[in-house]
């Protein structure tokens, strides 16, 4: 089955998860949240969520604790850069390659 079935004749996208494709496959560095250092996780109140606000792909939840959808997180590192408590570390994907196999 080819792309003709989608019935479109232009490139046309609607807001929703995955519209840009599985952008998680681009990632070489994975953001990992240290819950001991993350403000809402530590204080058990809805606070901060600067990572949620800044993530350009909208893949961080506004929950306690925040979680990241690695299917679409492209590994840009903006969340780690913006986090006021430095709770997010960018870890080489190769470190996870073995454990996920």
């Amino acid at each position: 089955m080819g792309s003709r079935e989608c019935g479109q004749i232009t490139s046309h996208s609607e807001p929703g998860p995955g519209d840009g494709g599985r952008t998680g496959s681009w990632r070489v560095l994975r953001p990992v949240i240290d819950l001991e250092a993350c403000i809402p996780s530590r204080r058990k109140v809805a606070a901060c969520f600067i990572c949620w606000l800044y993530c350009p792909d909208g893949v961080i939840t506004r929950t306690i604790p925040p979680s990241i959808d690695y299917e679409y997180c492209k590994g840009c590192g903006i969340c780690a850069e913006e986090c006021p408590t430095k709770a997010i570390t960018m870890v080489e994907e190769s470190k996870f390659a073995l454990e996920e196999k």
Binding site: I9, T10, S11, H12, S13, E14, P15
Partner: protein
């Protein structure tokens, strides 16, 4: 109703009859009177449309692209360097599959400046994905504008209606203005495939990746190459749609026009001269005179240039002794663009595969930048070919004083 008016006014009246909703244009000679006429019609309330003045041709087409994306019937017009200034937006309008109609009053391209007629402007935009129709007189201009909206909306491909600057744009001729009721019957209101809707936000013409990818519903959506293929496929289908539009038009208006080309005295012709626009009518005079001398010359005026109705053109030309392609444009360093297309269609399409039997095709360049095309010069150029001579260095030039 029959009136005597200029070609530009014929075009404007066609746009009015089509009930265009949005007009955006920037004046350039020799197109200016067309947009002036439309602004008058809007200002006086005779036409219920939004006239949007812009600061450039690039913006004019940009406005039409936006308007058409919301489901409005959009129109613009230009000439020469103005058309070239739109170049990037031409590709965009076609790639976005928007049924915009644009008139091009054909004019030579600077440098050096010229305001006079040739067809280098629109022919150099051949590969932008627009359908190109060429009108040969005022009646064809107004009729073609009306058919253009039908074809554009049926195929989701923009259409350029081209006519010779000054020779047609500024001369006055009698022509029939079709009845509004019949135009409404011919051209139903525009129902776009997709129109921007604030309650269902979408991003149009988003970046595509080299490979197709899934959309949010998990369906495989096109990659760049699939969209290019669909535009090409749509263009090929447009050949049929242009024929269907002609048939519909002929029935509703009780006329007998032809869709792809006008043939004059071709039935018994051993030689055929091919041209586009008003030159094809001028050549009819030459055919009449040369026939008195015993030369069986026929004339073909090509009306649909892109998509090129290859099989139809090849069928009309393949059994002749010789073909003479007369052009007001050149692909510098090679030959005229129509000449290349005709050679290629004869070689590949009109026959059962490549054949050495197709007629010799001659090419003349003439009339650049409004250079006068004298009937006597046309006769002197065509007569030797019809008695078996060949042009020494193709293309030959008519009226060159160097």
């Amino acid at each position: 109703m029959s009136i005597i008016e200029s070609g530009n006014v014929a075009a404007a009246l066609g746009v009015k009859l089509c009930r265009a909703n949005v007009i955006a244009a920037y004046p350039i000679t020799p197109q200016t009177p067309l947009t002036e006429k439309l602004s008058e019609l809007v200002e006086s309330g005779e036409m219920n449309a939004e006239y949007i003045p812009v600061e450039s041709e690039h913006s004019a087409l940009g406005v039409c692209i936006a308007a058409s994306s919301t489901g409005a019937r959009a129109f613009t017009a230009t000439s020469a360097n103005g058309l070239l200034y739109m170049h990037e937006q031409l590709h965009w309008a076609a790639g976005a599959r928007l049924p915009i109609v644009m008139c091009v009053a054909n004019r030579g391209v600077g440098a050096p400046w010229t305001v006079w007629n040739d067809q280098q402007d629109s022919l150099s935009q051949r590969d932008t994905g627009w359908i190109q129709l060429y009108a040969a007189d005022h009646q064809e201009i107004i009729n073609t504008v009306i058919k253009a909206y039908y074809v554009a909306e049926q195929t989701s491909i923009p259409v350029m209606v081209c006519y010779d600057g000054y020779i047609l744009s500024h001369t006055h001729m009698p022509f029939e203005v079709p009845d509004q009721e019949k135009v409404d019957a011919f051209l139903p209101p525009f129902r776009p495939n997709y129109a921007l809707d604030p309650s269902m936000p979408a991003n149009l013409n988003t970046v595509t990746l080299p490979e197709p990818r899934n959309n949010i519903r998990g369906e495989l959506a096109h990659g760049y190459m699939e969209l290019r293929y669909l535009l090409h496929e749509g263009m090929i289908r447009a050949i049929e749609v242009v024929g269907e539009a002609e048939q519909r038009f002929n029935e509703i208006f009780s006329v007998s026009g032809t869709a792809y080309m006008d043939m004059y005295k071709c039935d018994d012709a051993t030689y055929i001269a091919v041209a586009m626009g008003s030159l094809s009518l001028h050549l009819r005079v030459v055919a009449d005179i040369l026939r008195d001398e015993g030369i069986k010359l026929g004339i073909i005026g090509i009306k649909l240039y892109r998509p090129f109705p290859c099989g139809i053109v090849a069928d009309a030309l393949k059994d002749r002794d010789g073909i003479i392609v007369m052009e007001k444009a050149i692909s510098y360093g090679y030959v005229g663009p129509l000449y290349s297309d005709i050679c290629s269609c004869l070689y590949t399409q009109g026959l059962d595969g490549p054949s050495p039997g197709f007629p010799y095709v001659h090419n003349y360049i003439l009339g650049l930048g409004g250079r006068t095309i004298r009937t006597i010069d046309l006769m002197d150029a065509i007569r030797p070919i019809c008695t078996g001579k060949r042009i020494k260095d193709q293309p030959g030039w008519i009226g060159l004083k160097i």
